[in-house]
């Protein structure tokens, strides 16, 4: 009896009529806890988009419903996702900061007839977890691979890799090692550091002893980056001319002030710098800063969320407000637009964003530290993606 009722309810929901509806978007992210800053950036990106474009699409009104997931917790992520679909009746899911959370929620999408737009989680395999996943952030493979070319172009032959010992760190290491050895370079050593390492001096001694000309490092954005960069300078590696290369997680903008002069000149590759010079970005930064409250807190998840909202708006337009996940996802395959980060498009094959990756150098300009873009790798797909 209950199942008959549910089936009837599902029928009613899926045939909801297309006039002046309220379309709910459920956003799951870390709004409290250690990564609260990144959740705040999700919110800032969403609010910035709403401020610029308004909260109506056609006749429909958008309503955003937030659910807090402070730390990676797949079971809780699945539970929140289910709750959003069943009791809140959301038509779109978005957010997801950590890979395990996105992975746990993905199997629910087809059953719930809901597309998911990933604002951050950066493991290549997520898009394979469900045909209804679209991603507007980046993958660690995507941001790490161009660094191999940078190292090669600068005549560096011997490199040691040092990464945090967890999924994205290992992705980053593999991406870099693959690219760098293919270019003819030599990896003298690959070290994986536990996530909770706080004193990096022994690591620096090891880098010194390895005889490498440069070090490729991956650390997640957050407290550890400060100690790492400081140890790099204080143990004399910077003065000794050992170049530090890293994906941009190491120098996300909110951490730059704390990193200070130690970070000057560091080379990182990433998909977005708050200082990116374009009219689209100027408009984005202005409204996102207003949304987040303080310019120093603005970081890359905001742009993932902002572009994610754009993608969702296109999905709503294409389906006329009806709940039809397959049609919605189909409509944004191949979609291309100018994002605050530069020209981007959704790869129709894996629904991941194709974008420019920039080589940036930490610089001090107009009284603040910025990631200054100095080289562009255009239209980068996700090199880590393998067809399922």
């Amino acid at each position: 009896m209950k199942s008959v009722f549910l089936a009837g309810l599902a029928l009613v929901l899926s045939n909801s009529v297309a006039f002046a509806d309220t379309i709910k978007i459920g956003v799951v992210g870390p709004f409290s806890g250690p990564a609260a800053l990144q959740g705040k950036n999700f919110q800032a990106g969403i609010n910035a988009w709403l401020a610029v474009n308004g909260n109506t699409i056609g006749d429909d009104t958008i309503e955003v419903i937030y659910r807090d997931l402070p730390a990676p917790d797949p079971a809780q992520s699945a539970a929140l996702t289910q709750e959003l679909i069943v009791s809140e009746g959301v038509q779109y899911l978005a957010g997801y900061y950590y890979t395990p959370d996105a992975m746990a929620a993905a199997p629910i999408l087809e059953e719930g007839n809901v597309p998911m737009v990933v604002f951050n989680a950066a493991t290549s395999a997520i898009v394979n977890a469900s045909p209804y996943v679209v991603r507007t952030s980046f993958t660690t493979w995507q941001t790490s691979t161009p660094m191999a070319a940078v190292a090669h172009d600068r005549g560096i032959k011997k490199i040691i890799t040092v990464v945090s010992d967890y999924g994205p760190g290992i992705d980053s290491e593999t991406a870099f090692v693959t690219g760098f050895t293919a270019a003819g370079g030599e990896i003298v050593e690959s070290v994986r550091m536990p996530m909770n390492t706080n004193d990096f001096s022994p690591m620096m001694q090891r880098i010194k002893d390895s005889g490498a000309e440069a070090v490729f490092a991956f650390l997640p954005a957050g407290p550890a980056t400060l100690g790492f960069v400081q140890a790099y300078v204080e143990n004399g590696l910077k003065d000794a001319g050992v170049t530090l290369l890293a994906p941009g997680d190491l120098t996300q903008e909110p951490d730059l002030a704390a990193l200070g002069d130690n970070a000057l000149g560091l080379l990182t590759t990433f998909h977005y710098a708050v200082s990116h010079d374009s009219p689209e970005n100027a408009a984005f930064v202005a409204s996102a800063t207003k949304a987040i409250g303080s310019a120093s807190e603005l970081s890359f998840p905001a742009v993932g969320a902002y572009d994610g909202m754009y993608v969702i708006s296109k999905m709503i337009e294409a389906t006329g407000g009806n709940q039809d996940a397959a049609a919605a996802v189909e409509a944004v395959k191949g979609l291309s637009w100018i994002s605050p980060r530069g020209p981007v498009s959704i790869n129709p094959e894996n629904r991941h964003i194709t974008q420019n990756i920039y080589l940036r150098e930490v610089a001090f300009e107009d009284g603040q530290y910025i990631n200054k873009e100095i080289q562009t790798f255009e239209n980068q797909v996700d090199p880590g993606w393998k067809a399922p």
Binding site: P34, R192, P202, Q205, D209, P223, L226
Partner: protein, 287 residues
Amino acid sequence: MQTVLSIAADSLAYGMVLFIISIGLSVTMGLMKVVNLAHGAFAMIGGYIACYATQQLGLPFGVGIVAAVVGTVLIGIPLERFLYRRIYGAPELTQVLMTIGITFIIIGIANFALGPTLKTIPLPSQLQGPVDLGFRSIAAHKLFAVAVGLVVAAALWFIVERTPFGVRLRASVDDAAMAGALGVRTKMVYAVSFALAIGLAALGGVVGAQLLPIEPYYALHYMVTFLVVVSVGGAGSITGALIAALLLGAVQTTGRYIMPEYGEFFFYLAVIEVVAVFPHGLMGRSK
């Protein structure tokens, strides 16, 4: 050889930072018999005050340290009077529950009021940059931490062992009722020791901030490390805490150099071995 000396220098510096932050907890746990899980939270408050004083108000680093210690003690006194005084002599579970609660409240307030980003305490120019030791260069602030650690150890030993206050403190710890009967104002003694302990926490938070950066979850991140140093050293023993911090610092640093993939494995292996041989810690007194 050069590498060995280099690791020894890093070990000493890391161990001293552990000592400075943990010694206050050793005082609360050993002398006052309170399992204060909020110790790290007080260290964090000290760090935030120093950060505010030096960055926002532009005061010198030294003033920042003093402000951090005094400010944290001022915040701590009402907490002692209204919260901690109720749990002196209470079962350990009660103490743990209340102090972890205080920790979460402080984390929440810090996250809300000061934001989730990490804060730094700018060092004076004398403490910035590397100092050449002959065989390697080491950060000046690490040498500073070593010096502060030695001074703290000596001063505490003097206070506890050689001053009238130390006599009253030890008497109150051994038998509060008898000490009270003999005219020792035990409540006052406890309040002062508590202030001393959180003042040390604040000092440790500031001096150690270069290795353990200040952010809202500081209080939880390093809680286990502080507890481990105290239990390995033996609660209440200054020498014990010093030896434990240096030993664990050395094990941790060497492990990180030789086999970083093993993470905390060697650290906890050392902890298990020490606690198996000395159940009350290296210098702890049996109950």
